[in-house]
Structures are given as structure tokens and as C-alpha cells.
Amino acid sequence: MSTELPLIGDYSTPTAELSGARIGVVTFPGTLDDRDAARAVRAAGAQAVSLWHADTDLQDVDAVVIPGGFSYGDYLRAGAISRFAPMMDKIIDAANSDAKLPVLGICNGFQILTESHLLPGSMIKNDHLKFICRDQVLRVENDQTAWTNGYTAGQEITIVLKNQDGQYVADEKTLDMLEAEGRVAFSYVGWNPNGSRRSIAGISNAAGNVVGLMPHPEHAIEAGFGPDARGTDGLTFFTSVLTHLVGGKK
């Protein structure tokens, strides 16, 4: 298996038509994984466009990644302040518009998406009360979203998990609804690393253009610089959205 992995630094471009895609990566004060997210976008063959939280110009991007970190220090509540950034207003409008801008929220980005009500539920402190960084196995539950169409439902992938406030919570009705509508995108396999309800690692909105998850696909895109398993399982998030943008699943 390892022989098929790309060489370090070899970002093979998927298809020629997709190379024109522009994917925005938002930076807030305290964002940490923005450069990683931009690298993942480039590794997938698209162009990474840096978006500043205080700006209001989406710069014609085709999709947006809200990366992880501790925006505003997470001092009030993770994502609670960033949600009011001018750039977020634009992103919320575009995600809800007919164009259905694809938006991926990772970790702090997921927290910002729930605070923005683009996704239901919320994140609280891990049940064991500690920051946790580990290689995490996830099961793909929904392979129909803009960001997961390159996976196969039931597939297990290994990407990085690292968070302090990663326990996904929602009321029972919402959890039932998410499961019934197939909006649970990823579940934790084995030990539940933060006490998330029903082992939920990531969810999507009803239209499938907005996806949020706690683990970090952008840290598993280059062999040798991610999980010990040397996997590049996270790259498919970023190639999936390119497939989605050219109008087709698979």
C-alpha cells in the first residue's frame, strides 16, 4: 500500500479542468491551520485563496474552507466571536444561496459553523477535560456531500484529531433528525475520543454543501507528514469538492 502513496512534495494534479478552481481559506485572529488547509487545497490541484476575516469580498471563490485553531483564543466560547466576522456574513449568505457555496469547517471551523447556525448542535469541552492529539479512525457515513463524494460509505479512514472542545452535543430530536436524514457524515470508530453524542465526528447541512467535522483532513494529505499510518486519507475531502464543482459525483 505504501508504494502507491505520492512522494513527498509531489502534489499530483487530478484533472486539467479542475486546476482553475479557486478555494478560499479564511484566517481569523488565532487561526492556526490556515497554511495547512491552503497546502491541502493546492495538493488537490486547486488554487488556494486567502480570505481575511475582516474583509467582505469573497473574491469569486468556488468553495471555502474554515480551518482550525483558537480564533479569538476560544476565550468566550469556541467560534462564538468569529461567527460575527464580516467575512462570515458573506459565507453564510453564499452557503444558503441558490448557488450553495461548498463550505468545509474543520475543528474550530466546525465550531464557527455551528455558532453560525449553518450546522446544528454545538461543541463543548472533551469529556476527559484534556486536549487530545491522536491519529483517529473515522467511518464515512455519507458519501454524497460536496466534500465526501470521493469516499465510499462505510469506508474507514485515518486522519488527525486534535482538540480541546471537541465533544459534539445536540438535543435528541436533532440527533435523530441528523441520523434519519443521513446528515452524519463521519463517526468515530472504536474509542470515542471526546464524548461526542452518538460518536458523531462530522455532519452536513441538508443540501450537503456545508460539512463540518472535528478531526483534521488537512493534516493527512502528504505521506510522512501526518498520521503515523503515513496515510493521505484526508486528501479526498479536497478532491471531492473539485469533483462536485464540475457537476458530478464519481
Binding site: R35, F70, K162
Partner: protein, 770 residues
């Protein structure tokens, strides 16, 4: 500002000149009587309250190195031209800078934050990370990783709960919020550190040559600006009172002297500074750490070509009741001071506005070679900045070999009661291996490392538990660095000179094991009170040993830190010189991990180096509660030869994994390699037992130096053996990687399953800390 001046009488320079007999609290501020007399002599009058505050912190042991300067000079003297070749900035600046080629440079430094981390573990450890990271930014570099060597008291001591939980969550809470991967360190438990835990922090940064910045204030008329967090009442006198005295139960709590950190402010400050550097908007820059504004103003002025004039009421405060002296001494975190040319003021302010960072213009660079500080226009400080920052007191403190040292060295493990009834049978050896890898020092530390983000940045190629942390700097070429920190307090206690050399040897070896070429050294010298001649001897011997060894290995010391007074009452810690070695990797893709994977099945396992009967000071002796004799023999020639083998074998693809032998010897190294990816091995000890004239127990537990285990693909064995014999390095083929067995088999002795090993290794930290 006017209401502030009402709050207290301002002691101006004029007032000081006219009231020579006013009693000043110099002793409470940590100054000795001869030092106070010297200040009066320098000024030609008594100091003002503000001047006294400045001198007291800047002349503290922590800031002035007054007890060690005379010894530390050896690091600058024992250097060859060859060693200086890649040194762009040496000792004395915020951090040393080493050329990596291709226009890249790297800067790194290790520092202590010991005393604050005992008083207030969370904030002490957190601000230790914050401080060292600002040192790195001050050089114009982007910080790229941190590491933290930790030493705590006994694992089962009740206070270890408070200290370990606090320190680890402090490092995590602060470091994780900065977006810096934590790539390693070490954790040691020993009752000797009870009440004096050692919390050392290392940061490394990368920069392009043209971005190099230094801490000096030059250019008359250039503006001096303070930016970042506001100045508050935290950490006042941290350097003088906390870091430069021993703890004593009779004194009041020192909590107000510990700083409080705000990692979000630091993260914003990092990005803000990098933007300033990129646009070339600052002429000189200095972080505010120990001694706060006192240090920043006096060092910037002393290093520049003129003087500096500062209006202190311009400092933005968190607490409006602070006196001028407190403002000068405050160690509030997340602050930087810069010198900006008038042309760049507008652009500078725009960057501050973008990042929402507060700033205030304090004054400007002058041509009178004086540091003048005013309070609403009235002069409260008028000094030659060099007398504050550079020409502080210097002591050649008395030292002598302790009278107990001979008896200690004569008390060998083999001759002691603890050295009787050593394991002999296979079952006994197996039990000893399991006991060893479950022991507090040798057990798995992922309870700690999983609380740190090791992935952020996407450039981490190796991290704990591998021998060295490896980070990529240039994504195009794969250029990167490897860093390892090591120390063994027991070795240094038995022989302070050899102990310091052994610390260097181990970190050098660890860097080479990862495949990197050792290039520079930073050291954190943790010792007891320099006023005790026994301790001062340990320190003098440690510095002499380390500087001699650096010269022999050809790696220059580029900076570091000395932490003294690590003692409670008259009980000092073991001398603990923590040595960090930085190595260069042209392509981090070639780095060598510390264990074998399934696809390495059948690869040959070689032990490089020879094994002697060296158990004094070892982890095994420690398990039996014995400490005496002489530490393992230092052989720097052999270390160099081993390093060359490991580096060349990695570069030429002759080895797939490698692990150095250090604490716990062969038993620990084999167990750790098996556990790294859960893949077993079959080895035999017969060859090395016969060759080196030792028994199985010694083969497994001796801590002889200059050894490593490597796994060599079958196709490379001929080349590997040719290379080692051509270089005259002794190797033995111990056995093979066995991906099917799920066990470590030491043939003729015992077989231990991977699960048994894992259970022993991983259970200990969880048992004590949950």
C-alpha cells in the same frame, strides 16, 4: 496621566541628588551591599527608586549571569574557525542563528522556567513557552516548533499531581494555541526534583537571511515603540526575587511574581511581527521577558550606537496604580519593543490596526549614549545603559570538589547491596525488562505528548517518541532540522564534567540517529545555589566539560540559559545540564524513524558499538535505589564515528530505522523499537557477550555510550558492513525483524509478547495521572 502622578511621590534624579541619605529597599530587591555601593559609585549619587528597580532586576543572577559569566566565556573561547563557519549570530543575542544554506537560517534556544512552574505550574509552564517563542521572533524568524524537557519529583509524591497536571496542561494550553507543533522533550521523575521541578522550554524558528533582526537601537531620531499586551502588575521582580533565590518555607508566597499568559495575544503578536519583518518596518526589535521594560530599553540602547529617551507615562497599563519602578520591572507577557524609523511610522501603525494590536510610542533614539527615562517630563532614570545591561557585577565564586565526591564515586553498584542477586535466568531477565520499561523514567509518555499538537504546520516529519523531532523548513527542497534535548542528572551528580559531556553525547547521537548532521548546540544549565562551593564546583566542571566536548565534536554553543538556586534549604538538585543539539537534513524525507514497521519483516538488526560493564548511575541501578560510582565512559571519538555511520547510512538508504542506546541500555532500546509500530523481532546476545566479555544482564542493562541499533534491509547488508568496517566501527548482527511473531524474542533467554510490553510500558502514567 496626571492623576497617576498624584498617587505617589516621584523620586526624580534631582531629588536623589539632593537627598543622598534616603533609605532604599535594595536588600529586599535582591541586591547585595557591595552591589548597591557599586551602583552609587557608577551614578555618583544614590539611585532613584526607578533606577534601583532597573539595576536590581538587571543585576540579578537570572539576567546578569554574574556567577557564571567567568565560566561561560569558555563557550566562546573553545571554538575553531570551522565551527564558526555557519554561525551567523552567536551567544549574547536573544538566540543564536545558524546558516542552513539556500538562503535559509535557523535559530533556536532553550530556557528554564523552573521556579514559576513550581509556584504556579500552569502559568509558569505556559509563560515559559511564551517567553522562548518571543526570543525566536526577536531574531526575525518564524517559530516552527517547540520542545520541553521536564523533570519532576517522585511520581507517587502527592505534590506531583499538582505540578505534573499543571505544567503539562500549561504547556499544552499555551503552545497548542500558538500553532507550533510540540515535537519532543523528555520527562524524568526523581525525588531530587521535589520542590524544584525543572521546566525547560525550547523553541526553533526559521528565517531567510535577509530577515535577520537584532536587538539594537540605532539611528538618531528613530522612534521607540512598545506593542502587544498592556503592562500589568504580574511578574514584578520575577527575575530577581523568584529566579535568583532558593525557596524557603518561612517566606511568604511568591505567587505575585509569576506572570500570567495570554496565548491568543502571543499568536497575534507572532503574525504581526512577521508582517513587520516582511515589510522591513523595524530597525531593531527586542522581546520583553525577564526584567521587562528595564531589560528591553537598556539592552536596545546598550547594543545600539547612541542613547534612548523614553517617557514612561506613555506605557499602556492594565493597572493605573503601578509606580514607575513597578512598570519598569513588570514581566507582563506578550509585549515587544521595536525601533522604527519616522518614515515607517504610518505603515507600522497600519499593521497594528490590521491585527488589532495595541501600541504606544515611548520615545526615540538619541546620540548622547544615555538611557533617560522621564515621568511626565521629569527625569527619573539617567544612566549609561551599558552599566545596566552589560557591565553588571561579575563574581568568581569559590568552588571546590566536595569532600563527599570520592566516597560517592567509590560506592559502585556491583559492590553495593543493591547490586547483589541480579537477574540471571530468562524469566528473571524478562521480569527485569518489564519492570524497567514500566518505571517512571522509562515508561511511555504519550499521556503527556497527546496533550500537545504535534501536527500543526504540516511539516512535522518526526516527533516524540522518536529520537529527535524533525521539522521541514523548505517545502520545495525538503530542507529541515532535527532537534533532541537530553540530560542525565544522575550521571552529572557522579561526575559533573563527564555528566555534561554525556548529555551532549546523547543529544548529538539522537540527532545523528534521525539522519541529521549536528550543527549547533543550546544549553540550559540547571543547578543549585552558586553560593555553595560544592554546587559551584559542579557548575564549573559542567561548563568546562560541555565546552571541551563541543570543541571535540565540532558543534558550537549558540546560546542558552543558566538556572541557579534550584534547591530547597541546602539540598540542591542533581546538576542537570540539559543540552539541545540541532542538526540539518537536506531532505527530511530521508529521516530515520526509531522503529520498524511490518514491511521491514526480515530486515537485519545490528547493534553498533561495544558494551562494557557500566551500570553505575544507570536506570537499572536507579530501580534498585542505588546511586554511586562513575557514569559510563565518555568517548567522543566513538560518538563522532557512530554519528557518521548513522548519517551516511540514512542518506544512502542503507537503514530503515534506528534508535540510540541510552538510559535503560539495549533492553529499553529493543523494547521501544518493537513498541514503536508494534512489530516484533528475534535477537540473540551470544555474539556481543562473547566479543565484549559480558553476561546477558550486562548486555541488556549496561548504559555504555556510543551505541545504536539499526535495521538494515537484506539488500543493503553488504554495503552496510563494508562501510562500518572501512570506518573501523564495531557492529554485531543481533537478529531480524519478525512481523509474524508479535513478540520480542531474546533467543535462549526469554520471549515477551508485544502486548505484554505495551501493557507494562503504557500503564504507568495512566495509573498515576488518569
Amino acid at each position: 496621566m496626571s492623576e497617576q502622578t498624584q498617587a505617589f511621590n516621584i523620586d526624580t534624579v534631582d531629588n536623589a541628588a539632593s537627598t543622598p541619605d534616603v533609605e532604599l529597599p535594595w536588600a529586599e530587591l535582591g541586591l547585595k551591599d557591595n552591589e548597591f555601593a557599586e551602583i552609587v559609585k557608577i551614578l555618583g549619587r544614590r539611585p532613584t527608586a526607578a533606577e534601583l528597580a532597573m539595576y536590581s532586576v538587571m543585576w540579578s543572577e537570572h539576567c546578569s549571569y554574574k556567577s557564571t559569566k567567568t565560566h561561560l566565556r569558555q563557550f566562546g573561547q573553545k571554538v575553531t574557525e570551522e565551527m564558526k563557519k555557519d554561525l551567523m549570530v552567536g551567544m549574547g543575542e536573544n538566540a543564536g542563528v545558524t546558516n542552513l544554506g539556500d538562503g535559509w537560517a535557523v535559530t533556536f534556544k532553550i530556557e528554564s522556567h523552573n521556579s514559576p512552574s513550581y509556584v504556579e505550574p500552569y502559568q509558569g509552564a505556559a509563560t515559559g513557552i511564551g517567553g522562548i517563542v518571543r526570543d525566536i521572533i526577536s531574531m526575525g524568524a518564524r517559530p516552527i516548533a517547540v520542545m520541553d524537557p521536564l523533570r519532576f519529583g517522585a511520581i507517587d509524591h502527592e505534590d506531583s499531581q499538582r505540578v505534573v497536571h499543571g505544567v503539562v496542561s500549561g504547556i499544552g494550553g499555551y503552545g497548542n494555541s500558538l500553532g507550533l507543533p510540540n515535537i519532543g522533550g523528555e520527562t524524568v521523575f526523581d525525588p531530587i526534583y521535589q520542590g524544584n521541578p525543572l521546566v525547560n522550554a525550547l523553541a526553533v524558528g526559521a528565517l531567510r537571511h535577509e530577515d535577520l533582526r537584532l536587538a539594537n537601537a540605532s539611528g538618531v531620531g528613530n522612534k521607540v515603540v512598545l506593542f502587544g499586551a498592556r503592562t500589568g502588575g504580574d511578574g514584578i521582580g520575577g527575575a530577581s526575587v523568584l529566579a535568583s533565590e532558593s525557596f524557603d518555607d518561612t517566606k511568604p508566597s511568591k505567587r505575585p511574581a509569576v506572570q500570567v499568559g495570554d496565548p491568543f495575544a502571543e499568536k497575534v503578536l507572532i503574525e504581526c511581527c512577521l508582517e513587520l519583518f516582511k515589510a522591513s518596518l523595524v530597525e531593531g526589535i527586542q522581546d520583553l521577558g525577564a526584567a521587562g521594560i528595564s531589560c528591553a530599553t537598556s539592552e536596545l540602547a546598550a547594543n545600539g550606537d547612541g542613547g534612548m529617551n523614553v517617557e514612561l507615562t506613555n506605557v499602556l497599563l492594565r493597572d493605573s496604580t503601578l509606580t514607575p519602578g513597578e512598570i519598569l520591572m513588570s514581566e507582563s507577557q506578550e509585549r515587544m519593543m521595536a525601533v522604527v524609523s519616522p518614515d515607517n511610522v504610518e505603515a507600522f501603525e497600519a499593521v497594528m490596526a490590521k491585527w488589532n494590536v495595541e501600541y504606544s510610542w515611548l520615545g526615540e533614539v538619541t546620540d548622547d549614549n544615555r538611557l533617560t527615562i522621564t515621568w511626565n517630563g521629569e527625569v527619573i532614570v539617567d544612566v549609561d545603559p551599558s552599566t545596566v545591561a552589560v557591565d553588571g557585577p561579575e563574581y568568581d565564586r569559590p568552588y571546590a570538589r566536595p569532600d563527599w565526591q570520592d566516597a560517592l564515586q567509590a560506592d559502585t553498584f556491583r559492590a553495593s547491596e543493591a547490586g547483589k542477586n541480579l537477574p540471571e535466568s530468562g524469566d528473571q531477565l524478562k521480569a527485569a525488562v518489564l519492570e524497567l520499561i514500566a518505571s517512571p523514567n522509562m515508561c511511555d509518555k504519550s499521556w503527556i505528548t497527546r496533550q500537545y499538537d504535534r501536527y500543526v504546520g504540516g511539516n512535522t516529519a518526526l516527533a516524540a517518541p522518536d529520537d529527535a523531532g524533525v521539522v521541514r523548513i523548505d517545502e520545495e527542497t525538503g530542507l529541515g532540522v532535527a532537534i533532541a534535548t537530553d540530560a542525565n542528572g544522575r550521571y552529572a551528580y557522579l561526575d559533573p564534567y563527564a555528566g555534561a559531556q554525556l548529555a551532549l553525547a546523547e543529544s548529538y547521537r539522537n540527532v545523528a540517529t534521525s539522519g541529521a548532521i549536528p550543527a549547533a548546540v543550546s544549553d540550559c544549565l540547571n543547578y543549585g545555589s552558586p553560593e555553595d562551593p560544592d554546587v559551584m564546583w559542579q557548575l564549573a566542571e559542567g561548563i568546562r566539560g560541555l565546552s571541551d566536548a563541543c570543541m571535540e565534536l565540532g558543534v558550537p554553543v549558540t546560546g542558552g540559559n543558566v538556572s541557579l538556586y534550584n534547591q530547597t534549604g541546602d539540598k540542591a538538585i542533581h546538576p542537570t545540564p540539559v543540552v539541545a543539539t540541532l542538526g540539518k537534513l537536506d531532505d527530511v524525507a530521508r529521516r530515520t524513524p526509531s522503529g520498524w514497521r511490518e514491511e521491514a519483516d526480515g530486515q537485519a538488526i545490528y547493534l553498533i558499538g561495544t558494551t562494557a560493564d557500566e551500570l553505575d548511575g544507570s536506570e537499572f541501578a536507579n530501580l534498585r535505589g542505588h546511586l554511586g560510582g562513575l557514569p559510563p565512559k565518555v568517548d567522543l571519538g566513538a560518538e563522532k564515528a557512530l554519528g557518521a555511520i548513522l548519517i551516511n547510512a540514512s542518506r544512502d538508504g542503507m537503514i530503515d530505522s534506528a534508535h540510540d542506546l541510552s538510559e535503560g541500555g539495549l533492553a529499553a532500546a529493543l523494547s521501544e523499537m518493537v513498541l514503536r509500530y508494534g512489530v516484533g523481532a528475534r535477537v540473540a546476545l551470544d555474539e556481543i557477550k562473547a566479543r565484549d566479555g559480558i553476561d546477558s544482564f550486562t548486555a541488556l542493562f549496561s548504559e555504555s555510550q556510543a551505541r545504536a541499533i539499526v535495521a538494515v534491509p537484506r539488500s543493503e547488508e553488504v554495503r552496510f558492513n563494508d562501510m562500518t568496517s572501512a570506518r573501523g566501527v564495531t557492529v554485531a548482527r543481533l537478529g531480524v525483524v519478525d512481523a509474524q511473531s508479535g513478540a520480542l524474542e531474546v533467543q535462549g533467554e526469554f520471549t515477551v509478547s508485544v502486548d505484554e510490553l505495551r501493557e507494562a510500558h503504557e500503564g504507568t502514567m495512566v495509573k498515576y495521572f488518569g
